[in-house]
């Protein structure tokens, strides 16, 4: 369940990851999603190694197919990650776009 409190708590972590650059370690294209992501499939997801050595997981957006490759440089950005909950709170989170 997505509650406003969970979204708020998550923002503290997401904030730290924004604007960080990194490289794709591995990626996949999700064709069959869970129910929460049915409307946006298919979509690519990657594990990214950031320049500070941390790793993060997020969807890749604003890409062309050639961008989906191991080693591609990306940057962390803030995007809507789920449909708004019944409470009307829009869940924003971390995604990556090629640079």
């Amino acid at each position: 369940m997505i509650s406003p409190v969970k979204i708020w708590r998550r923002q503290k972590v997401v904030r730290e990851r924004l604007g960080h650059r990194g490289k794709i370690i591995s990626w996949t294209m999700i064709m069959v999603p869970g129910g929460d992501f049915k409307d946006v499939a298919p979509y690519p997801v990657a594990i990214v190694e950031l320049t500070d050595g941390n790793r993060a997981v997020g969807q890749i957006v604003d890409y062309i197919s050639e961008d989906l490759t191991v080693g591609r440089e990306v940057i962390g950005i803030l995007r809507k990650v789920r449909k708004p909950s019944d409470d009307g709170v829009i869940a924003y989170g971390l995604k990556f776009k090629p640079i």
Binding site: I25, T28, I30, V32, V40, Y43, I47, V81
Partner: protein, 382 residues
């Protein structure tokens, strides 16, 4: 030493006429009949199930099981994602080791086909990290990223993976309890639709219903009267829930650790194993398992599987996933770990019918939770 003295599994598949606890009831009664016992002779029950709480608002299974068996015995529900069954078996064995009882039953069950694929996929993702869930990752997606790393690192292609499904579907065709009893060609696997690149639908185990149960006993007098397989070891190891925190994306490290401990406890080595039931939730996972356990060296799996030496009838000293594995026998997640033990029991006691491996002396089962966060490795012998 503890031994498995009875086994029963329901059919695996889309069992629309049966509810979760109807399957549980069938498996419990079947296993008790197999062990020639009645419920009053059982000291405790360990029940592996992952999804009933998430999908069906269906918890407090111990009391539901008590109602089925008609006794006030202790019943424990165990949850470790897709390793729930293996963990139930492990804890049942530990219960006997601790002297808390003489004869216990371990059952695993899952009811998955009452729901849409999106609902079930979402529920299964409960076993992933919060960050992975938020990124829209699915279990095929997590294994797909591991598969991509493996294929890239060792210069393999999707064809190498397809041979796992080809072999296990052949085995499934020999098992009348299997979800899929149809052989599939490598070409048809390669032509199937993608679920999460580079994994296709025929690289993936299905969503299944089913329940399996084994009876374990520490009572030597009782064991003597039964066809039985001794439990030489059962070991557990864990790893970080997040794939990004793993040491490597091309191995299931928790399985390596659990296997090392299991071989040490059993006092045998990988070359002694004749039959293995491995957690092939996706084709790539069987290669990871073969390498983690030490049957093959790291990176060899893609080439070795094309030789099909682990296929029934190959005449080699190790045959893998005679039940059809998760891929063809089906994967009712809580039941899988128990079915693996049951398949070893059938093989080691000469009851595996048309898929009986000759001179099977030692068997190994490897059951994995999530993308490798939990592994249970158990070794049986005669």
């Amino acid at each position: 030493m503890n031994a498995v003295i009875g086994y029963y599994t329901t059919q695996f598949g889309e069992l629309w006429e049966q509810s979760l606890f109807q399957l549980v009831e069938e498996a419990i009664h079947g296993a008790l009949t197999s062990a020639k016992l009645d419920a009053g002779q059982i000291d405790a029950i360990f029940y592996g199930n992952m999804l009933a709480g998430v999908l069906d608002n269906n918890l407090h299974a111990p009391a539901k099981i008590a109602e089925i068996v008609g006794h006030h015995l202790p019943v424990f529900r165990v949850e470790s994602a897709c390793a729930s069954g293996g963990m139930a078996f492990h804890l049942a064995n530990q219960y006997l080791n601790a002297g808390a009882g003489k004869t216990v039953l371990a059952i695993g069950a899952e009811k998955m086909t009452d729901y849409s694929p999106e609902q079930t996929t979402r529920a299964l993702a409960a076993a992933a990290s919060g960050e992975e869930q938020e990124a829209g990752l699915t279990f095929p997606g997590l294994y797909a990223m591991m598969a991509r790393s493996y294929l890239d690192e060792y210069n393999y292609t999707e064809e190498n993976l397809a041979y796992v499904a080809h072999k296990n579907h052949f085995h499934g065709s020999l098992n009348k309890k299997a979800h899929f009893r149809k052989e599939i060609s490598v070409a048809s696997i390669l032509k199937s639709a993608y679920v999460a690149h580079p994994l296709k639908v025929l690289d993936c185990s299905p969503i299944s219903d089913g329940a399996s149960a084994v009876v374990l006993s520490a009572d030597a007098q009782l064991t003597k009267k039964h066809k039985h397989a001794q439990i030489l070891s059962s070991e557990v190891a864990t790893d970080s829930i997040s794939l990004k925190h793993r040491k490597s994306l091309t191995e299931i490290y928790s399985s390596k650790l659990a296997a090392e401990k299991a071989f040490e406890s059993a006092g045998i080595s990988p070359t002694d194993i004749n039959v293995a039931e491995l957690h092939d939730c996706f084709t790539i996972a069987e290669l990871f398992a073969m390498e983690a356990i030490g049957f093959w060296k790291p990176g060899e799996g893609g080439a070795q599987i094309k030789e099909q030496s682990t296929k029934f009838g190959s005449g080699s000293s190790l045959i893998v996933n005679t039940s059809g594995g998760l891929k063809a026998a089906g994967h009712p997640v809580g039941a899988t770990g128990i079915k693996q033990i049951g398949e070893l029991y059938l093989q080691l006691t000469g009851q595996a019918d048309g898929r009986q491996v000759e001179k099977a002396t030692y068997g190994l089962a490897q059951n994995v939770g999530g993308s490798g966060g939990t592994s249970v490795v158990s070794i049986l012998g005669i």
